[in-house]
């Protein structure tokens, strides 16, 4: 009897093993996506493209496949830059398997090996992510463990080396003198409302978190004494009560001399807080941020966005229309004092101003200034930001008079009738182009910008959209004789007008023509038109977009999708699909 049972059990186990092996194949899902962005470049003396530098064609493409089966998932991503599109980093040029991972996560424990994307808190000390339209990928190749020992508690640990274009994952890429360190990090988060049952449905919300990240990198400098272990820590708290929410995160990093901070031996600090109130029909949020020397890279010689371990979020409004997005603020890694206020309000339906559908209003104001830096003593001298010294001291709450950026904008979004919809926005912009884009001596951009976006629904299938934009710059030297060498700093400056007409036939087709005209450029030869024509075909999750003409730098939204494009002239094709 017993023997029989054992045999049966063995058989059953065998069966269920077969069953599970089978279900591993049968029950699994394969999904993925492909995208190709290609551009054929043409000479265009009109906008100063006199030489293609031997590059007639650029192509960025990727294909990724994910496999998921219950608690298990795995994926690969293949990338090709043959060669990269203009505006992308030349180090991307190449073809290969860029990314792979395998994860097992049963809710209690999660393990990932391969390329890891993750973020601790708001990312002030650790964030790895990938942004295709920017050619940005700082994935951590290594391992991650996530533990959720009880409800509401999450513990994470990561270990690995970050992606640097196509460089091999070694400490030293034999092709250069750059050394890449190892990144290690731990994070803990405790959500009191989920772990304490009496707080489950409380109006009062609270969660706490803390992280520690360190990079280990060999000191290869013959001149400086570079710390081989650099640690950074952060603590955060999120509170909520009723319609109010408050969150704050503070981060600290020990001295970390690098090419970005001019090899000073100063510690780094960052504080980011937000307070919001919202109820149905009304929402307001105030954010403040202070960062000081918080660039954190796993390669101390890194420039630009190379091998960033952390992410310092810019807190300002993200514009997507072509004129306002020409002057997009980017984070200044060495220090910023920033604040932002945003208010959204919907005038209710059925009131005099709300009309039949309600009227949506939005106000946003953001400003970024420099921090205040005071000289420090080294030896018998005083100096400010001198390499090899402590750099400077900085009072935490002091705001410098040096303003980098300010944006005040107001938007009205109104559905007028069943067929008509209008959105209008006014923007007042202050943009320190010298600091943000490095045009030495170029005057600050002070501009008023307006746009109007009108949609008319012709019938159930067809619609027409008209977009009108204007940018008026107050103080550029008009009529001034520029030296040849100065001229390039005045590209895109002065007044602009732009118009776009889009005709779309739901659900597949969209046709649009657009022009941007820099009619008020202080340099006469830059008063150019940027004409483009675009055809988009969408079928379910497949999109094909063909466009021809001139593109100036910025974010373009056509065919219902937004992405950033660099300046060029020619024909471009985008094909993307997912399954």
């Amino acid at each position: 009897m017993r023997k029989n049972i054992l045999v049966l059990l063995a058989l059953a186990l065998g069966f269920s093993f077969r069953a599970s092996a089978q279900s591993f194949v049968e029950g699994g899902q394969v999904s993925g996506s492909f995208q190709t962005d290609a551009q054929y470049y043409m000479l265009d003396k009109g906008i100063g493209i006199n030489d293609l530098n031997g590059k007639k064609l650029g192509l960025n493409g990727f294909g990724k496949v994910n496999y998921t089966n219950g608690d298990f998932s795995a994926g690969i991503r293949f990338e090709a830059f043959m060669p990269e599109l203009n505006g992308f980093r030349s180090e991307l040029n190449g073809v290969g398997l860029a990314n792979f991972f395998a994860t097992y996560d049963n809710g209690f424990i999660g393990m990932t090996v391969g390329d890891i994307y993750d973020q601790f808190g708001s990312g002030l000390v650790f964030r790895t992510y990938e942004e295709w339209s920017l050619g940005m990928d700082n994935a951590l190749r290594g391992a991650r463990v996530v533990l959720r020992p009880t409800q509401g508690v999450t513990l994470k640990g990561v270990y690995g080396r970050q992606r640097f274009f196509w460089a091999p994952y070694l400490e030293r890429d034999m092709g250069s003198d750059d050394y890449r360190g190892i990144v290690r990090g731990v994070d803990a988060e405790w959500d009191l409302n989920q772990s304490i049952s009496s707080l489950n449905d409380s109006e009062f919300k609270m969660s706490l978190g803390g992280s520690f990240v360190s990079k280990k990198q060999a000191d290869q400098s013959s001149f400086y004494n570079i710390p081989e272990n650099v640690g950074a820590a952060a603590a955060r708290i999120n509170l909520g009560y009723g319609n109010f929410a408050f969150s704050t995160e503070y981060a600290y990093k020990i001295n970390d001399p690098s090419a970005i901070n001019n090899f000073i031996y100063k510690e780094g600090r960052a504080l980011m807080s937000s307070l919001s109130y919202s109820q149905q029909g009304f929402g307001a949020v105030l954010q403040v941020k202070r960062t000081d020397n918080m660039s954190f890279k796993s390669m101390y010689t890194g420039k630009q966005n190379d091998l960033d371990i952390n992410f310092i979020p810019p807190i300002n409004y993200t514009h997507t229309h072509s004129l306002p997005s020409m002057y997009t603020y980017s984070t200044q890694p060495n220090g910023e004092m920033a604040a932002q206020l945003q208010v959204n309000y919907t005038i209710p339906k059925g009131t005099a101003l709300g009309g039949k559908y309600g009227t949506k209003l939005a106000f946003n104001m953001s400003q970024v200034n420099d921090i205040v830096r005071d000289s420090v003593r080294f030896g018998n001298e005083m100096g400010l930001n001198q390499a090899g010294t402590l750099g400077y001291t900085s009072k935490f709450f002091a705001v410098s008079d040096h303003r980098f950026f300010r944006d005040i904008n107001f938007e009205v979004d109104k559905k007028i009738s069943k067929d008509w919809h209008i959105t209008a926005q006014y923007i007042n912009l202050y943009y320190d182009i010298e600091t943000i884009e490095g045009h030495a001596g170029a005057p600050v951009v002070k501009a008023n910008i307006g746009f109007m976006d009108v949609t008319y629904k012709i019938n159930k299938r067809q619609s027409l959209r008209l977009e009108l934009q204007g940018l008026w710059e107050n103080e550029v030297h008009k009529g001034y004789e520029y030296e040849e060498s100065e001229k390039k700093d005045y590209q895109k400056r002065g007044d602009w007008a732009a118009a776009l007409v889009e005709y779309s036939v739901n659900p597949h087709w969209s046709f649009s023509i657009a022009d941007k005209w820099n009619y008020g450029n202080p340099v006469e030869e830059y008063r150019d038109h940027y004409f483009t024509g675009t055809v988009t075909y969408i079928h379910d999750a497949t999109r094909v977009m063909l466009s021809a003409g001139r593109q100036s730098e910025g974010v373009v939204c056509v065919g219902g999708v937004c992405r950033t494009v660099p300046a060029s002239s020619g024909v471009s094709l985008t094909v993307s699909t997912s399954f």
Binding site: M1, Q22, S33, S73, E130, S278, V285, N506, V561, S578
Partner: protein, 167 residues
């Protein structure tokens, strides 16, 4: 003996069933605007259709799509019982804005936060807006990228097909 056999058979059947009812949705946990964890693989609307739509506060076409969906959502719910989950892919530069924007615009969807794009990557979303329709068994039956005026009508036709099949 019989009992053991029955039990084993049942175990086998359960394994088999388990394989069949597996959802297309990845097991990724996101937070909703109340701070509660929501596991995407376990989304359940009592067998009725679910719409998952990806957006961001900085994405113009997404805002248009959301406004349009919001205008018809009450009717859709009453007619088909559909539930819309709106996944914000705003990163930490704008996560704090999501709730005030959603409330300020008066949207009635359940909004989930995907600040580092975990769900976006797992569901192969390249550019928002990207909308998925999921049937009562967790299978993706329709997806669409981009937004044109009136695209919500096509989505609704697909939802109606599902709702009819159910009956």
């Amino acid at each position: 003996m019989k009992k053991v056999m029955t039990l084993l058979l049942m175990a086998l059947m359960v394994t088999g069933l388990h394989a069949q009812t597996k959802s297309d949705l990845p097991s990724i946990t996101l937070k909703n605007l109340k701070g509660k964890d929501v596991n995407i693989a376990k989304l359940n609307n009592g067998g009725k259709p679910i719409v998952i739509t990806f957006w961001a506060t900085w994405c113009g076409p997404c805002i248009k799509e959301h406004n349009a969906l919001n205008d018809v959502y009450e009717d859709w719910k009453a007619e088909t019982g559909v539930k819309i989950y709106s996944v914000s892919i705003d990163d930490s530069r704008s996560t704090a804005k999501v709730k005030p924007v959603v409330d300020g615009k008066g949207w009635g969807f359940e909004v989930l936060l995907d600040p580092n794009g975990d769900l976006k990557r797992a569901m192969n979303v390249s550019n928002p807006p990207h909308t998925f329709l999921i049937d009562g068994n967790g299978k993706i039956v329709y997806q669409h990228t981009g937004y044109f005026e009136g695209a919500e009508d096509d989505l609704y036709e697909e939802i109606l097909k599902l709702a009819k099949k159910k009956k």
